[in-house]
């Protein structure tokens, strides 16, 4: 079973996401709402993948992602950025970030996670999951 860590500052989202993913067969081994908490959880739980919100309260998800990549492991943890924003808004930053992909929060599902892991699990670049919005 895929072990997953969700890092988000919105308790509503955490609860909904955990319920949905577990229902779909993903083991949510932990949740974090800050960068520091996320680092500790990754160290302690060694999840297969960390879902990291780009807007982590006052923190930047990109920075937390960089820290997770730099400070955990080896092997470095695999991080998927999530956001209510469109991927295109952050495409440049996502591309520059040491994450394996991006998922729109509203499109979150076990299948979507597996798709990201499957397509770019070992790569640095993420595969767009949904098409360019607004076009």
């Amino acid at each position: 079973m895929l072990r997953c860590l969700i890092i988000d500052d919105s308790p509503h989202f955490l609860a909904a996401a955990r319920g949905l993913l577990e229902r779909e067969g993903v083991a949510v081994v932990g949740v974090a709402s800050t960068g520091a908490e996320a680092l500790r959880c990754v160290e302690a739980l060694r999840p297969d993948v960390a879902l990291l919100d780009i807007d982590l309260g006052g923190e930047s998800g990109f920075e937390v992602a960089t820290r997770l990549h730099r400070d955990t492991g080896p092997p470095p943890s695999r991080v998927i950025l999530i956001s209510t924003h469109a991927e295109q808004d952050y495409a440049e930053l996502i591309a520059a970030s040491p994450v394996i992909g991006f998922l729109s929060k509203s499109a979150l599902s076990a299948g979507a996670i597996r798709d990201v892991l499957g397509s770019g699990g070992d790569g640095e670049s993420a595969t767009p999951v949904n098409g360019p919005p607004g076009t």
Partner: protein, 863 residues
């Protein structure tokens, strides 16, 4: 010339040739004598018949015949003899009273009587005729003599007349007249005198045996018994034969000359008694007609004098005319100089020269009266004037003419320097040997300006000299007044130019103020203009700080090296700056000896005026000179600049406040939008996403078979996802979250990716500007790309971002139709407001058909 006197023989010969007849008048007289004497004798003898005998009677008749012969000559005597014989026969020879002669003896007697009577008549008649002839001859000779005298006299008169007509000087005419008169009248002494106004007589000519006794020029008062005195009194000829009582020098002279008789006749010139001709003789008195003879000469003398006077007057008037012409020409020359407005320095020597020339003076000088009563030599011409250089100052004292003229303000003269003393006298009168001088005051517009003075070494100036100099003094006065007027004009022109300069400087500063250039720039300009306008070596503007010290805001000129902008110091009195800070009023200082807190700047004069901004002493404008006192009106002229500076500061303050408040408003709006976007994102969106996930969980949880419910839940989830998408777009419109997250570069690139047309983007900086700046830049590019797409129908666009100093440069260009009007609506106005509110600038260049270029400058920090 002289006719020889006739010889006596010639006279006789002429007499005989003339025959024996006496004049008819004498014959008639003889006849009448006979007619009277014979009857009387006859009557008498008839009465005395008894006592007188015949011989006696005969003899008596014979006597009567002789008498008739003596009176009437031969012819009446013969007639008388016959008559006497008849009467004798008739009355005394018997027969009495009968012509017959009784006694033959008596006949013989009668015959004898007739013979004797005839002979006697013949002899007596002859004698009478001879005597008559001799008398005639004598008379002839006399009249001949008279004629010769007349001829001589006429000759003399003619000679004199010739002299008169030739216009010889009166003195020569007088001498000639005296000579001629003396000769004509055979005088021993002749002189001509002129009667003077005081009734004295002056000898103008003297000839004779000893003319030195009455020399020409002798002057005396004629008193009786001198004939001259009578002439003087009566105006008529007079003579004197007794000089015994004659007094005075004339009397002495008369006695020395031995004059015993004299005649004087008046000389009348044009109706007035001019003088007299006097003649004197040591012998018999002059003939009675001497006066008459002299009269002709006195007339000539009168004519000569009248001539001479007329000629003299003519000469004088001719001289006067020439002099006047010279003077007029001189005045004209000077007047021309004055009219041409040549400098006074040229007019003065010309006037001095002309005055000297016109007056025939040895020297002339123009001097100016100084306020202290001394004079300054302005110019002078003449000899030996080394001691009197132009510019030298003197204090001349009376009796010098110029001292008098300056004291009284009227022309003055000095002809006697014996009591004059002082340096001026030594330098002029003594050195130049001036004997007489005339000074005339120069009056300029009613005020005594100075004096012009001329001096001569010989003689004295004529009486009209002052008058003649007056014309020149008037011209000098005019020249001076002209020059002063011109100087005033120049001054007022300078003043106008200065004012114009000042106004221009003020306008330049005002323009800067109005354009709202930064205060520092205005300060620099004000300092520059003030320094220039007041002619200072340096100028500065200092701000009063809260601690009472000052900070230099601007400095120009020679002070700039020593007092840097930004330097902070505390001025102390007597520095004008310090005084202004204490009193709030303009101040000046010209004493920099004491320690003033300034570096040694070599300043000699400083003026400072306060800059008041909204009733508060803001600072000071100060100017400084290293070359002596600044002009007295410096403070006044700086005042206008301080007002402008104050306005500029106030403007800058209020503009800064406005800008800040605009920036605050923009920033506040941005903040509010960011917060809204944040709140939407963190709140509503998260909740909706959570709901969406929960819904999908619920959908998955619905038991199979409840297909309808599953479908409904699926549709709701899809709807929800759509709503979430929409909300996401709305949030992005409210605030681009990417800006906060990734900065301008990623945000702009995102914009470019999202644009409907290809956008070439060139970002050359990674620097992060302030939030409102990045937001503004983002919106500028966003709006520009929207324009390019929507309105300009462009096919592509380029965006460039660069950073220069503290500015962010943005440019957005497209290849669209152009024609965008930043004032004509569209989102460009909002952009402009946003950019300007943040202290930036935006330029839109959008010529029709040539695309649109928008260039924006934004400060990295708003303000």
């Amino acid at each position: 010339m002289h006719t020889d006197p006739p010889e006596p023989s010639a006279t006789r010969r002429r007499l005989s040739a003339r025959g024996a007849a006496l004049s008819p008048r004498r014959r008639l007289a003889g006849a009448l004598t006979g007619l009277v004497v014979l009857p009387l004798l006859t009557v008498g003898l008839a009465q005395l018949r008894d006592f007188v005998n015949l011989p006696s009677q005969t003899l008596l008749y014979l006597l009567a015949v002789v008498v008739v012969a003596l009176v009437g000559g031969l012819v009446p005597a013969l007639a008388a003899a016959v008559t006497a014989a008849v009467l004798l026969d008739h009355y005394f020879l018997p027969p009495l009273y009968d012509f017959a002669v009784a006694d033959p003896d008596n006949v013989v007697a009668l015959l004898a009587f007739l013979l004797v009577a005839g002979a006697a008549s013949s002899v007596v008649g002859l004698a009478t005729r001879r005597r008559e002839a001799e008398a005639l001859a004598t008379a002839n000779a006399e009249s001949r003599e008279e004629f010769r005298r007349l001829a001589r006299e006429q000759l003399a008169l003619r000679r004199v007349a010739t002299l008169v007509a030739r216009g010889l000087p009166p003195a020569e005419v007088f001498a000639a007249v005296a000579r001629e008169v003396g000769r004509v009248l055979d005088a021993d002494s002749t002189n001509i005198v002129r009667f003077d106004a005081d009734d004295a007589a002056t000898v103008v000519a003297s000839v004779g045996r000893r003319p030195e006794q009455v020399p020409v020029g002798t002057r005396w008062k004629p008193e009786p018994p001198l004939s001259t005195a009578t002439v003087l009194r009566t105006g008529r000829p007079a003579r004197s034969d007794d000089y015994g009582q004659a007094a005075g020098i004339a009397g002495d002279a008369v006695r020395r000359l031995g004059i015993r008789s004299g005649v004087a006749t008046p000389i009348v010139v044009e109706g007035r008694l001019w003088g007299a001709i006097n003649i004197g003789t040591q012998g018999e008195p002059f003939p009675a007609d001497a006066e008459q003879h002299m009269a002709d000469f006195t007339e000539l003398v009168g004519a000569a004098i009248a001539n001479a006077e007329g000629r003299t007057q003519l000469e004088e008037s001719r001289d006067e005319l020439r002099r006047l012409a010279d003077e007029q020409a001189a005045l004209q020359r000077v007047a021309t100089l004055v009219a041409r407005g040549v400098p006074r320095a040229e007019v003065f020597p010309a006037v001095a020269q002309e005055v000297r020339h016109v007056l025939g003076a040895a020297a002339s000088m123009i001097a100016r009266l100084d306020p202290d009563g001394a004079i300054t030599v302005v110019d002078r011409v003449g000899e030996d004037q080394d001691g009197l250089p132009p510019g030298s100052r003197w204090r001349p004292e009376p009796p010098l003419a110029l001292a008098e003229a300056l004291r009284t303000g009227r022309p003055a003269r000095c002809d006697d320097y014996s009591h004059a003393s002082g340096a001026f006298v030594d330098a002029t009168v003594r050195t130049m040997r001036i004997r007489s001088s005339v000074a005339v005051p120069i009056v300029v517009e009613g005020r005594l300006w100075g004096v012009i003075v001329a001096g001569v070494q010989h003689g004295r100036f004529p009486a009209d000299t002052e008058q003649r100099m007056a014309g020149f003094t008037e011209l000098i006065g005019t020249a001076i007044a002209n020059a002063e007027g011109r100087a005033q004009l120049e001054e007022s022109r300078d003043e106008l130019r200065r004012l114009a300069d000042e106004q221009a400087a003020l306008r330049r500063v005002a323009t800067l103020v109005a354009r709202g250039v930064p205060a520092a720039e205005v300060f620099e300009a004000v300092a520059h203009e003030v320094g220039h306008v007041v002619g200072a070596d340096g100028a500065g503007i200092s701000r009063l700080d809260a601690d009472g010290a000052i900070t230099v805001c601007a400095v120009v000129g020679s002070l700039a090296d020593e007092l840097a902008v930004g330097s902070h110091w505390r001025p102390v009195p007597p520095l004008a700056l310090a005084v202004v800070l204490r009193t709030g009023r303009p101040a000046r200082n010209e004493d920099y000896r004491e320690d003033s807190g300034l570096p040694p700047l070599g300043i000699r004069s400083g003026v400072a005026v306060p800059i008041v901004v909204e009733a508060r002493l803001w600072g000071v404008i100060s100017v400084a000179s290293r070359h002596g006192p600044l002009p007295a009106d410096t403070e006044v002229r700086m005042a206008a600049f301080t007002e402008l500076a104050g306005t500029a500061i106030a403007n800058a303050d209020s503009r800064a406040e406005l800008t800040a408040s605009r920036a605050r408003i923009v920033t506040a709006a941005d903040d509010a939008r960011r917060h809204i976007e944040r709140d939407l994102h963190d709140g509503t969106q998260q909740r909706l996403v959570a709901i969406s996930l929960t819904l999908r969980l619920a959908q998955a949880t619905v038991p199979p078979g409840l297909t309808e419910l599953q479908d409904q839940l699926g549709r709701v989830a899809d709807e929800l996802t759509g709503a979430i998408e929409e909300l996401r777009e709305i949030a992005r419109g409210i605030h681009p979250a990417i800006l906060s997250e990734g900065g301008l570069g990623p945000a702009l690139r995102t914009l470019a990716r999202r644009a409907a047309i290809p956008v070439e983007i060139d970002i050359r900086t990674r620097i992060r500007a302030a939030g409102p700046i990045e937001v503004a830049a983002y919106y500028v590019v966003s709006e520009a790309l929207t324009n390019a797409t929507k309105h300009a129908r462009a096919s592509c666009a380029q965006v460039a971002v660069d950073q220069r100093d503290a500015l962010l440069d943005l440019s957005i260009r497209d290849d669209g139709v152009g024609g965008a009007d930043p004032a004509g609506g569209s989102g460009l106005i909002g952009l402009r407001d946003r950019v300007q509110a943040l202290g930036g600038s935006i330029e839109v260049d959008s010529p029709p058909g040539a695309g649109t270029a928008i260039v924006v400058e934004l400060p990295l920090q708003p303000g």
